[in-house]
Structure formats: structure tokens, C-alpha cells
Amino acid sequence: MSHKPKTPSRHRSRSEAKTPLTPSLTAGLNSLSLAIPTQVSPSKPRADASFNPFLSSRPGSPTRRATSRPASPIKRATSGAIQVSESLQRQASLGVIRKGGVESRLDVITRDYVPPPKSEKKRSKSQPTRDTRDRFITTRDTTDEVTATLDMMSLNPQSSSPGHTSRLAAAAGVPLNRRVLAYHEPPPASSSDPLLAQARELVRPLYARPGALATSTSTTTSKGRKIATQPERVLDAPGMVDDYYLNLVAWSSLNTLAVALAESTYLWRADTGEVTQMGEAPEGTYVASVDFSNDGQFLGVGLGMGAVELWDIETQTKLRTMGGHSTQVACLSWHQHLLTSGCGDGSIWHHDVRVARHKVGELVGHQGEVCGLKWRSDGELLASGGNDNVVNVWDGRVGDVTPGSRSAARWTKRNHVAAVKAIAWCPWQPALLASGGGTSDATVHIWNTTTGARLHSLTTPSQVTSIQWSPHKKEFLTTHGYPTNSLMIHAYPSMERVVEIRDAHDSRVLWSALGPGGDLVCTGAGDENLKFWRVWEMPKPKKGKDAKEGSRMGTGSTSSGILSIR
């Protein structure tokens, strides 16, 4: 404000009068006068400046201009022209008012930096010869029409109402001969409901069915072995509970198969085909797990109430009931006189079946239900898998553990991302342990239990419900749930798929048990069927000792002739 008296507007108006030097600049100033009328009328700015706070900076600028006036009057004029032409330039670039006198000249000035059209043409001509297909180079050589139309679209940035924009566009005469049309109905709404999408993601493994396999009754593997893809025998198992967490099938070394159907336990003697109902669970509960002792003389039965029963196979009588667990005992594993039970609350108990105070140890390491439990055949290690996606391996030495004392797992693995039900020790390489995860994991991990290292991982198409190692071959079998309901045999250590039997059951295959001969596998599923598959062949006895041993066991091969009785 203090500058104001020093810089009378007359100075400014005089300087304005002096600047016009070339006709084009006059033209520019003519337009300038249209856009900024305050600079034209000499009296108005003075009155404005004194009252309008927004114009307070203005009196200063003429002083600066006055000093710099001799230096670059043209520059100032051009800058003025650019300032003015902003709106006009836009129109000009549209090519709408190109023929107008003032605008066209302004166009010339503002487009000074644009390369001459000749070179431009050259570029566009040379463009096709160069092969730039694989590169992302935006083409700028063509007419700027597209850009111009976009500019036209955004004529008025401030306008919020579409009507205004269109009116403005119409007023400016920009969309020459054009109508902007849209289809009268909106596009269909996308079904991307975040909740639904999440749910879909969860059930995806159930629907992600891999490509179809060749349909044939047997598959010839790469090794020239023929594996029947049809079961050798099917047994009806009415009332079999379709529950992933239970373990309802066991096959003893005396060639007896124990199956739990709801509250009853049945024995099926593979040698004779004779079926006997061994016993029933107490009123109000059900059988959650069965397992044979190593010698095949006794059967452990885990109940839904938490009790563990001991049955004699020979006499088919219950020897004792060992209580203590609070919820269902869904898995059992024997080692000699030790019956180990996994409970729904995540605890694992050792029961010494010989003594009155049967509980000789408790292993606490799972947060969720124990789904898989297996002793290594030598009894040194015990592996367990839980609903908390954890695999634990425990030291098998129970020692003189007082009831209530707890031991810690030798090592814990958290690689699985779903419940671990499938657990199997390798019979021919004691350090190997295979574990398989549930639906969202569907992965088999092979561990070296000595070092705790993960040796192999195998991703399968669906949940792994059980694993069986072949005793004679470097292979293992996995059973699967939805959607393939398949049996798969994998080679070890290549992890190659030897064979896949798709749709082995109508429902998810939940349990499997390996026959004492190591050639037959029995699978149980929610479709209330037990199926027997001859997946591995018996090795031919080479030495006399082996043959003798086989005959002594009397079970050598579970022959089909025996099986056909029923």
C-alpha cells in the first residue's frame, strides 16, 4: 500500500501505450484488453486499488515493470498474451476457431516449440518401418485430436454439474456435430461382494477339480506296473460316521479288520470273511477311534465321552475302561503295553494297560484337537498332528512319569496351514515321517525326525486324510477328500505320482489301513463303504528264511481267494 503513491497508474498506462511494437503484439494486447479490463481503463485500477485488498499487490507490479520495461517489453507482451490466451488456446488447439485472426496468431506464438510439421511427417512415416511392437512406447506422432477432445471434455474444471458442462460445451461450439450417448440401462452390477469373494476363496479347493484322468480300469505306470483302479472288494459299512476327525478303521497283524460304525465295533476277519459285532459303546456315546495292539490281540477303543476301552479280540470281551479324558478320544496308537490316546482338548495321554493306575504320562503341546497319532515301530518316537495345524514329535521314553507330569515335544513343526490328520512313519527308513494337511493345506511334508529337517513337500489337489507307506516299495499312498475323493500313490523320494485313482469313493476318503501283508489297503469313507485296493504287490520270497517267515505268519499275502468269502 505504501508503494501506491509512488506508482501512479498513469505510469502504467503510459507503459502500456509504449509496448505495442509489432502488429502481432498489438493484436495480442487487443485480446489482453478483453480479458483484463482493469489494465485498459486508467482510472479504474486506482479506485480499485485503494479499496480492494485483493488488488493490493497490483500497484507493486507496475513499478517492477517500469524498471524492467526497457529490457524486455516484448517478453512482457508475450507473457501477457499467453496469460490471456489460456482459454483461447484451448479452443485454438481444438481447431475450432483456427481461421480467426487473433487466435491463429496466438496459436503461432504458443506453438513456437512445436517441431515443424515437416519433421513430424517424416517421423510418422518412419514409424512403421521400425518394429517397436514389444516395447511400450506411446505414439505421439499422430494428430493430437484425442488429447484435444479430452481437453474439450474438461472445459470447465470447476463445474460440478454435468448439465453445465454440456451447456458450456454447446456454447463454445466444441462438440461439433456430436452427441454423447450412453446405453439407457446401467451395466450389470459386479458380484464382487467382499464377503462372498472371501467365502469363495475358502471353498475354492473344494471346486478346483484337476483335469480328468484317462478312464480305464487299470493304469499302467511308467515303471510298467499295472495297478487296478477298481477295488478288489467292497464291504458295506452302514452307519459309518462321516467325520474327518475320527479314526474308525484299523487292521491288525492277525489280519483282522476293526471298523467302528457309530456306537458298535465290528471285526471282519480277512482270512475267513467272518463278521462279528464285538461290542457296543456305552449308552449315549459313540466310538471315535479304534486301534489294534502290535500283536493284534487287543483292540483299543476311544469313545466320544473320553473313555478308552480295552478289548480282547480272542474272547471279544471288554477287559477294562480307562477314563480320564474330558472329550472325545479321536486317535489311538499302541506301542507294546502302552496305549496312547489323543483327546479333543489337545492332550495326549499314555495309558499303561497293565497297571491299575493306567495314566503314566501326559503330553501337552497341541492347542487344538489331536487328529493324528502314530508311534514309531521301535517306540522311540511318537508323532502327533493337531487341529492347530501343528506336527509334534515326542520322545517315546516314558520313564517313571508320575501322573500329571508333562513333557515337551522334541520338535514342533508349523508348516501346515490346516489340521494334520495324516501321519505315517516310514517302515524302511525309521527317521522318515510323512504328514499331510487338511483342505486348505493339501500338502504332504516328509520330515527327517532325527534332524527335524523338512526333506520334501508335495502339493496335492485336495485334503490329505491319511498316508500309508508301502513296506516293500519306495512309495507311499495318500487318500484324499473333496473334490477328487482319490487315492494316490507317490514314489519316494522323487515324489512323482505313480498312480491316481480318482473317485475311489462317492464321498471323501477318510481312513485307510494297510493289511499285514503290505499289499492291500482298506479305505473307509463317508459313503458307508469299505473298499479294498490291491495297490502293491507282495515281494516274491527270495530266500528260504523269508519264505519260512511268511508261512509262519500265515498271512503273507492277503489273497483274493480268501477275500471272496461273504
Partner: protein
Amino acid sequence: MAPTKQAPTRQAITLKGSTNLVTEFFKFAANTILFQRGVYPADDFHMVKKYGQTVLVTQDLALENYLDKILKQVNKWLLTGSVTQLVLAIISKDSRTTLERWVFDINLVEQPADSSEPPHRAPAKPEAEIQAEIRNILKQIVSTVTFLPVIDEPTVFNILAYTSDSADIPADEWVDTDPLAIEASKSQQVKLRSFSTDVHRIEAMVAYRYEG
């Protein structure tokens, strides 16, 4: 240059053939954009072999029909040469602001009036070359995700057709509308490749909201 180079058996592409080619391109371009920009969930799309590459095409019946209806009309307009621009606008579902505008300019290639084939006329473009050009545009659309701002809100789309005033418009199906423009100060534009048949020349461009 060398009219002899042109295979005598091959006929120059007709207006109708070119129109179908362009319409088909719009179908795949629109599908690609809708997939790439996540307007519809990815599992609604399945892969289809087209133009020598795999293109993702929607299998949502409602959307398929919707695009078909639009493209059928576009096809008619193309035949009469009355559509000059097609715009696929991606709009925020909640705020209704335009986030992206995919602009396809349709230019009619000047045809000499007489059929006496003047020497300056370019020989008919081989179909393979056209397809290669289309493929390049589609590839470019895919590659634009590298620089386009990430959209993390639900969006809808709209297809605008810029037609001449004289165009024959089905009265109750197409309505005059707002151009769904992005404010100039907040918009960035990237010109994409173009392709041309002997009749049409399609130029693609994407403008997107960028406030930075």
C-alpha cells in the same frame, strides 16, 4: 509403391468386414479393461484364444449380453460411419467420480472416390498385420496397470458413444449423457497404440485421475 506386391487373389477389406473387425476389437478391449482394472471379479473371466494370444473374456451372462447389445448398435453406427468415438469410463461406485476414461477414436480412412486405384493408394493391409496391431493395443492395455493408479474401491463402468448429430439413434435405448469427463487439472493422459484397417483407423488413449 508396388501394386504388384499385392496378392491378386486377396480382396481388399470391405466396410462391413472392417466394421466387424473393429466391433470385435471393442469387445475384447472392453473385456480386457474390465478384467485388468478389476471392475468385475477376476473369476468371472475365462481365457480365450484370440489374435494369437490369450484374452480374458467375461462369462457373466448379464455382462455378456449388455456388451453385446451395445456392440450391436455400435456395429450399425460404424456401418453408417456415424460414430466417431467410443469411451469406456470407469467410475467410482460410491462417489460417482470418473476414475479412468478409455477413449477409442474412430476415424474413417479416406477412400479415393474412384476405383481406378491411383498409384499413391496404399496396398490393402494384410489381415495378419491388422491382428498384430490389435494384439499390440491389447498388450498395451494390459501393461497400463503398471502405471495406472491402483483402484481399491468398487467401481462401475459406462460406455459412451460419440456420434454425429445425424446418426440414427434408437430412441428409447440410447440417451444423451454427460461425457463423464475428468477435470483437466487432475487428469493424466497416455496415448496408446492405434490400429487401422483399410477403412477404419482406431486410436486408443487412456486418461486417468491423478492428483499428485
